[in-house]
């Protein structure tokens, strides 16, 4: 005769997040989707400037290994007042590097609420959902929401026309997360 294993209360699923600031607003991103955090200074001089009028949020591109990484200004992406950015988040499994003003802190979220259905525009692509931390509602960004496939295609075509010089190759160094 076998007895069933004693029931264990399931652990609350938690997720490590990074709270970062763009313009005056605070956003959260899963720390698992951030590959590296770098200072803007470490990229100074090397990235190639992009001036695509239909994509004002993308200002620079640099080469990392085989891939072009596009630097998206977080404030412009979210339609906020642009402010001097100091850090770049290199996102994992993505060709996006996110330009942000600063990191507030790393913390843990225990609950991710779906974005209410009343939000029916681009924010549904931008955010995975909302989380509540210290009685504050913080949007949790989706790493895939910064550049669509069409936008990447457009940028790739633009960069191939411009030609990316060797000086834009950036090594894998900086502050790993």
């Amino acid at each position: 005769m076998q007895f069933a294993a004693p029931h264990k209360a399931p652990h609350a699923r938690t997720e490590q997040i990074i709270l970062f600031r763009c313009s005056t607003q605070v956003f959260a991103i899963s720390s698992g989707s951030v590959h590296e955090v770098r200072s803007v200074d470490t990229l100074a001089g090397s990235p190639l400037e992009i001036n695509e009028p239909t994509l004002p949020k993308v200002g620079h591109v640099f080469r990392r290994g085989e891939q072009n990484l596009y630097v998206v200004n977080g404030a412009v992406h979210f339609g906020l007042r642009p402010s001097p950015a100091s850090l770049i988040l290199l996102l994992r499994r993505s060709r996006t590097a996110l330009l942000i003003d600063g990191i507030e802190k790393m913390t843990t979220m225990t609950r991710l609420q779906a974005l209410p259905a009343a939000f029916c525009n681009e924010e549904r692509v931008w955010y995975r959902g909302l989380t509540v931390l210290d009685q504050n509602v913080i949007p949790v960004v989706s790493p895939e929401g910064f550049l669509t496939t069409d936008e990447l295609f457009l940028l790739d075509a633009l960069v191939s026309r411009m030609g990316l010089p060797e000086s834009t190759v950036v090594s894998e160094m900086g502050l790993g997360v």
Partner: protein, 301 residues
Amino acid sequence: MSMVEQFDARSCVLMRLGERRFALAAEQIAELVAPSRVFRFAHRTMEIDGVILRRGRVVPVCDVAERLTGKKLTSRRFYLVATQKRGASLDWVALPVSGECELITADLTPAGESDSPHVAAWLSHDGEVIEVLNLDALTPAPVDRATPGARRKPGGTRMIVPGKPAKILLIDSNVLFSKRLGDALRREGFEVTTATQAAFALTTLEYNAPSVIVCATNMREMGALEIARIIHADPKNAALPVIAMGDGSQRALMESFQAGCDDYIDRHLSPGVIANHIKNIVVSRWKGFSRRRCWARRIRA
């Protein structure tokens, strides 16, 4: 089955928005809450002001006052939290109201075909005829739930289609002038809808999208200058031309263009001349000319 088909006498909650009262079906109301902190974050849904936290739930705040009364609520005293059934899910929405709410039972009269979609029914209370609101028509909803990112293309359904009469929304408080101008426009081959209030006209944009809006500048509550700002601030209406009708003064002309109106007409001209001018604007836009593009070309040159 609509609310009115089901029952004749219904419990409704009366809410006050500024000087006017509106009603909502009582079963849609979850609670009335005192003002709490509104959290705001970056988004592109114009109708949503932010979110409030209620019992751990994030509830979007949808200010419907401007759409219903033409004025923003300056004093918010409470949030009426309502529920909306969308498919299998139940969504919550908080409506800012400017006074205490009242629960009543009243006989409802079904809304007619000519009523705005936001009117589900009518009721009489204390000698006042009150609109019973259809919340689904007032609050934004995803265009396609299967593809959450799907967005309405700016001006996508509002383009002038060759071979079909262009729809003109004519807003003027002078009913006689509206009728004369409306007749002149119909003679030019347009389909014309008239409104005496700009606020009402704004609500018709969702279900009877015009190709052009022609609006007087000297309206009592909201004129061409205000309507141009509101319409062009909304990405989905940004391409919709607004033509201002003013008193012919230089000042009115300047103010109209500064407010973002696409063209200006002297209202004292004869209806036939005004209709002809509007026709020229519509035809030139159909051929791809717009004032903004022209300016952009000039700036580039």
